[in-house]
């Protein structure tokens, strides 16, 4: 089974649109939405609803006011600026769940409990198995949820004998992205030909290089700025990445999205043809 991860560095460059098309073309695949912070792939894949499993990402501390002796030790040892004084309370959104305050409290006034930080499910869509998760808004440990989701999607792929596992990733280069990298066969970076698109592409490319992963560039909206498209492709070549092609700036992309369908599913358009061609190139690379 080959794992294909779609990333971008910069947000909003078209990861989910590309993932939708790959999911449609990679017959009987397993697809997982690893952007657990802002998951959108379900909108165009419309998976069947199934039971959502609870995800406990960690613990949070809280102070029992009745037991607190106001010594301030918790505030002293907290590295996350989560404790405020008089009365001593813990801001759950700043608490990192390290537990240091709990075991340093001389009065035993800090409770340290598991919290529900999200849910995940494995279900089916018209293109095969779909695995999705949702981090509760304002929660943390998205990396751990991504890792959980990947493990479950991997099991489902093994069970289904799927040839491909298509993973829609998160923007950025931090914890959820790092958690999505394990075991992937290829990373497709979707980038736009803009000054910021190139800057963010290079940071992600450096991360892939550091992790010894092979990347492929797919330029979206290439005709917005041909000069920048050339620079992006040159930067990708500098990293030894493969080029999957160029996708045209096309109103058909929004149309497909508004119809809640994958690009090219209901109607052909130039951008759909470009992403389909990119999949053919990638598949040929993966089968080498």
């Amino acid at each position: 089974m080959k794992q294909v991860l779609i990333l971008s560095g910069k947000g909003g460059t078209g990861k989910t649109t590309v993932a939708g098309v790959f999911s449609r073309l990679a017959a009987a695949c397993v697809t997982a939405d690893c952007d657990v912070d802002a998951a959108d792939l379900h909108i165009i894949l419309s998976p069947e609803l199934s039971e959502r499993k609870k995800y406990y990402g960690g613990k949070k501390a809280a102070i029992d006011a009745a037991k607190c002796v106001s010594c301030g030790r918790c505030r002293e040892v907290c590295r996350f600026e989560a404790v405020s004084a008089e009365p001593y309370t813990i801001d759950p959104h700043s608490c990192d769940g390290c537990g240091v305050c709990a075991w340093n409290c001389p009065a035993g006034a800090v409770t340290f409990k598991e919290i529900l930080s999200g849910t995940w499910m494995v279900s089916s869509s018209r293109f095969g198995v779909f695995a999705g998760a949702r981090l509760e808004p304002a929660e943390e440990n998205s990396g751990k949820l991504v890792a959980t989701l990947k493990t479950e999607a991997g099991k489902a792929a093994e069970a289904a004998g799927a040839k491909y596992l298509i993973l829609d990733g998160s923007p950025g280069i931090g914890c959820p992205v790092l958690a999505s990298l394990g075991g992937v066969s290829a990373v497709v970076i979707v980038a736009e030909p803009t000054v910021s698109g190139r800057h963010d592409f290079i940071r992600l490319a450096e991360l892939l290089k550091q992790q010894g992963l092979k990347g492929f560039l797919l330029v979206n909206k290439y005709d917005l700025n041909l000069e920048e498209t050339g620079r992006l492709e040159a930067a990708a070549a500098g990293f030894g990445f493969g080029l999957l092609g160029r996708v045209a700036f096309d109103a058909g992309v929004i149309k497909a999205l508004l119809a809640r369908r994958t690009l090219g599913e209901a109607a052909a358009c130039p951008a759909a043809g470009d992403v389909e061609a990119a999949w053919s190139r990638l598949r040929a690379e993966l089968e080498k």
Partner: protein
Amino acid sequence: MRLAVASGKGGTGKTSLACALARALGPGAALLDCDVEEPDCALFIKPRIEHEAEFTVPVPAIDAAKCDGCGRCAETCVYNAIKIFTGKPFLFGHMCHSCGGCALACPRKAISEVQRISGKVRHGRAGDLYFADGLMSVGEASPVRLIKAVKRAAPPARHVIIDCPPGTSCPMIAAVAGANFCLLVSEPTPFGLCDLKLAVETLEKISVPHALVINRSDLGDGEMEAWCSSKGIKILLKIPFDREIAAAYSRGETLLDARPEYREKLLALFSALPGGAA
């Protein structure tokens, strides 16, 4: 006035709007780029960097001569950054959250903390606009501490504009926390709306008042506006799709370079915010 510019979904125009707003406000304003994983404001604002400092986080260093392999450090670490193998502790540095717990827990005082570089903080000026940003080192997992450091680097400016990272989890919270108001930027598509709902839920949880700017407002459907009206969320500005704005953006130019007429609209938007009076 501390104004956060956030979105949930990436690529909706946060950086564009934050840069244009800061430019429009001009003297006495500060722009902080808190999207430290992928900071892009500097590409548009082109500041003169006056100061650049490495940003470090404390990580444990274990003195093997003092360690007796009791394993208390590994038991303490909720991040699984220390494991005991054959009676000896091993550090997995990238898992460490710098909580300092292991050093406090070690009964033989065998653990001290050393500083590891995890990024840099820069500040400077673009004309009369104060600017600061952070750049997380490639390979680091958490941007949260660096985001807080960028916010601490802000001068006592009258108005501070904070460009936030996408998403609705810890990095976004760290960037938005302490803001008087949050301007959400989205686009009227099903993806934009889905992520906007999450962003609103997040801001409600942390009690930051907010309103919306709809970008590429003519490339979508009416569901976002209908939802906002049902939730009582104000839409302060709609920016229709404009190929000239997109092309200028691709070259590293701001909205105001492409369409100067937005200066007045942005100033009017800002002065109507609570605390936004010039």
